[in-house]
Amino acid sequence: MFIYTLKRLLQTIPVLIGVTLVVFLMMHLIPGDPAQIMAGERASEEQIELTRDRLGLNDPLPVQYATFVGNAIQGDLGNSIRNGRAVTTEIGTRFWVTVELAFYSTLLSIFMGLMAGIISATRRNSPVDMFIMVFALFGLSMPNFWLGLMLIQYFALNIDWLPVSGWGSPQALILPVITLGTAGAAIIARMTRSSMLEVIHQDYIRTARAKGVKERYVIYKHALRNALIPVVTVVGLQFGALLGGAVLTETVFAINGLGRLVVDAIGQRDFPIVQGSVLVLALLFVLVNFLVDISYRFLNKRIELD
C-alpha cells in the first residue's frame, strides 16, 4: 500500500510536468502581452520593456519554464502580474473554497445519482424509470447559470429561505451545491442504473436471495456495493470536471473560488496565477484519482493495486 502510494505519486510527476508545460506554452502562444497589461495601456515602449525584463519575460522560454519549475519545487509559484500578490496567497483560500464546493456537490451528485439510479434499475422500464432517466437528461442539459439563477429566484427571493449569495454559512452552501451537483447526479444516475442492472443478474445476488435475505438488503447490501465500482470512476472524473466547471456557479453565487480566479487570470494573461492554479488543480486531480483507485480497493478487495 505504501509502495503503491509512492508509485502513484511518482506517476504524477510526468502529468504535472506535462500540464505545466502545455499551459506554459499555451500562455505564450496566445495573443495578449502581460507586460503591456501590467504596465498599463498608456505606458511607453521603454516602460513595457522594463516591465517585461522585471517579469523575466525576455528570457528564452526554456529558461522561463525552468525558473518556474525550479521555484515551484521550492513552493514559490511567483507573484501575480495583475496585483503583485504571491500566487500561493492568491490561490490559498480560493482553492479550499472551490474544493469544498466541489466536494459537497460531488457528495450531492453521488447521493442523488445513486438513489435515482437504484430506483430506476429496480423498476426497469417502468414509468418511474422513464421519468427518472428523462429527468436526468434535463439535469445534464441544463446550463449551470440557468439552474443557479432559477434557484435564487425561487429559494432566495420568492420564498426567502436561503441567502442569495455568499460563502461560509451552511445555508449559503445549499444552492450552489445543488447547482453544481445536478449534472453530475444525472450522469451518476445513468451509470448506477446500468451498473446495477448488470450486477442484479449476477450469481451472488441469487445466492443472497437463496439465503433468505430481504430484498432491501439484497439491493443495498449485496448489489449496490458491487455496482459502485464503475460508478466510482465516474465520480473521480466528475470531481475533476467540477473543479474546472465551477466557474459559472462561482460567478452566479458570488463565490470567490479558484475557477473564477483561473478564468480571470487567463483573460488577463496573468501567467503566474494561471500556471500556479493549473499546477495545483492538476495535483488535486491526480490526488482524487488516486483516492478513487484506493476506494476501488476498499469496495472490492479483489482489485490488486499493483
Binding site: 447559470f145 439563477l149 487567463i266
Partner: protein
C-alpha cells in the same frame, strides 16, 4: 427460367454482402424497440427540419425588430421573441442544423480519436498504455478555456475549430472508457483465436475488439452531445464557434441569461430544444446498443 435466375441473383447478393444482411438484422431488431424508434424518428425529424425548416419559416431569424422585443409566446411568435425582437421559434428552426452539426461532429471526432487511443492503450498495455493515459490525464487536468484560446490563436475562430476544441476535450473521456473495456475484451479467447490465425494487430483491434465494446461508447457518446452543445456555447465568448447572430441554440440560451427572471422564455425554449435532441439521441443510442448486443437476442 427467369424466375430461377432472379432467385439465384438474390441468393448471390446475400452471399456477396453479408454485412448488408447483418445490417438488416440490426434493423429488424431495432424496429421492435419502440423507444429507440421514437428516438430515431425524432432525429430524422430534426434532420428534416434542419434541411427544409428554414424554407418554411416566414420570419427572418436574424433581423432585429425593435418594436417586437421581449414578447412572450403568442400565436404570432410561438416561442416569443428575444431581446432584439427576433422570433425564437424561427431562430430555433434555423439553428437546428448548426447545433446538430456541432453536437454531432464534435462528439464524433472526439469519439473516434478517444476510441483509437483508448483501444491502443488497452490493447498494447505497458509503456504505450502508460504514455497515452498520462497524456489523457494531462488533457483532463488542463483548463479547457486555455486550450480553446490556443486554438483560436493558431487556427482562428470558425465553427469547425470549436468542433476541434470540443473534440479534444472529449478525447480523454472516451479514451478512459474504451481502455477499460478493451482490457476486458482483449483477454477473450476469440481475440487470441484470430491472433493465432495470424491476424495483424490492426485487424484485431478494429475488426474484433472495437465492435464488441460499442455499448459503453454509444452510451457515452449520446450523453456527451449535451455536454458538447453546452460547451460550444461556453466557448463562443472566446470567439470560437458560431458568431452572432447565428441562431446556435447554446448561444441563444446564453443570451437569455440577462433576462432569466423577467423573460425566462428566451432561455427556456432553446434549452428545451437541446434537451429534446439529447433525449432523442439517448433513446436511439440505447436502442442501438441493445440491438448490437449479442446477449440480447431478438
Amino acid at each position: 427460367m427467369s424466375e430461377t435466375t432472379a432467385n439465384v441473383s438474390k441468393e448471390e447478393k446475400k452471399r456477396i454482402n453479408p454485412q448488408i444482411e447483418s445490417l438488416k438484422n440490426v434493423w429488424r431488431k431495432l424496429k421492435t424497440n419502440y423507444l429507440a424508434m421514437a428516438g430515431g424518428i425524432l432525429i430524422i425529424l430534426f434532420i428534416i427540419t434542419a434541411i427544409v425548416g428554414p424554407w418554411l419559416t416566414t420570419l427572418d431569424p436574424n433581423m432585429p425588430n425593435v418594436q417586437a422585443r421581449l414578447q412572450g409566446p403568442s400565436s404570432e411568435f410561438w416561442f416569443g421573441t428575444d431581446h432584439h425582437g427576433r422570433d425564437i421559434f424561427t431562430r430555433i428552426v434555423h439553428g437546428m442544423s448548426i447545433t446538430l452539426y456541432i453536437g454531432f461532429f464534435s462528439v464524433a471526432i472526439g469519439m473516434v480519436l478517444g476510441v483509437v487511443l483508448g483501444i491502443v492503450a488497452g490493447y498494447y498495455g505497458r509503456r504505450i498504455d502508460a504514455v497515452i493515459m498520462r497524456i489523457m490525464d494531462v488533457l483532463l487536468a488542463f483548463p479547457g478555456i486555455l486550450l480553446a484560446l490556443g486554438i483560436v490563436a493558431v487556427l482562428g475562430g470558425s465553427i469547425n475549430n470549436v468542433i476541434i476544441a470540443i473534440s479534444i476535450f472529449s478525447i480523454p473521456v472516451f479514451a478512459r472508457i474504451v481502455r477499460g473495456s478493451t482490457l476486458s475484451v482483449r483477454k477473450l479467447e476469440y481475440v487470441d483465436a484470430v491472433r493465432a490465425l495470424g491476424a495483424s494487430d490492426f485487424r484485431i483491434i478494429f475488426l474484433h475488439i472495437l465492435p464488441n465494446i460499442l455499448s459503453p461508447i454509444i452510451v457515452q457518446a449520446t450523453l456527451h452531445i449535451a455536454t458538447a452543445v453546452l460547451t460550444a456555447t461556453g466557448l463562443s465568448f472566446l470567439g470560437l464557434g458560431a458568431q452572432p447572430p447565428t441562431p446556435e441554440w447554446g448561444a441563444m440560451l446564453a443570451s437569455g441569461r440577462n433576462y432569466m427572471w423577467d423573460h425566462p422564455h428566451i432561455a427556456l425554449f432553446p434549452g428545451l430544444a437541446i434537451v429534446l435532441v439529447v433525449l432523442a439521441f439517448n433513446l436511439f443510442g440505447d436502442g442501438v446498443r441493445d440491438t448490437l448486443d449479442p446477449k440480447i437476442k431478438s
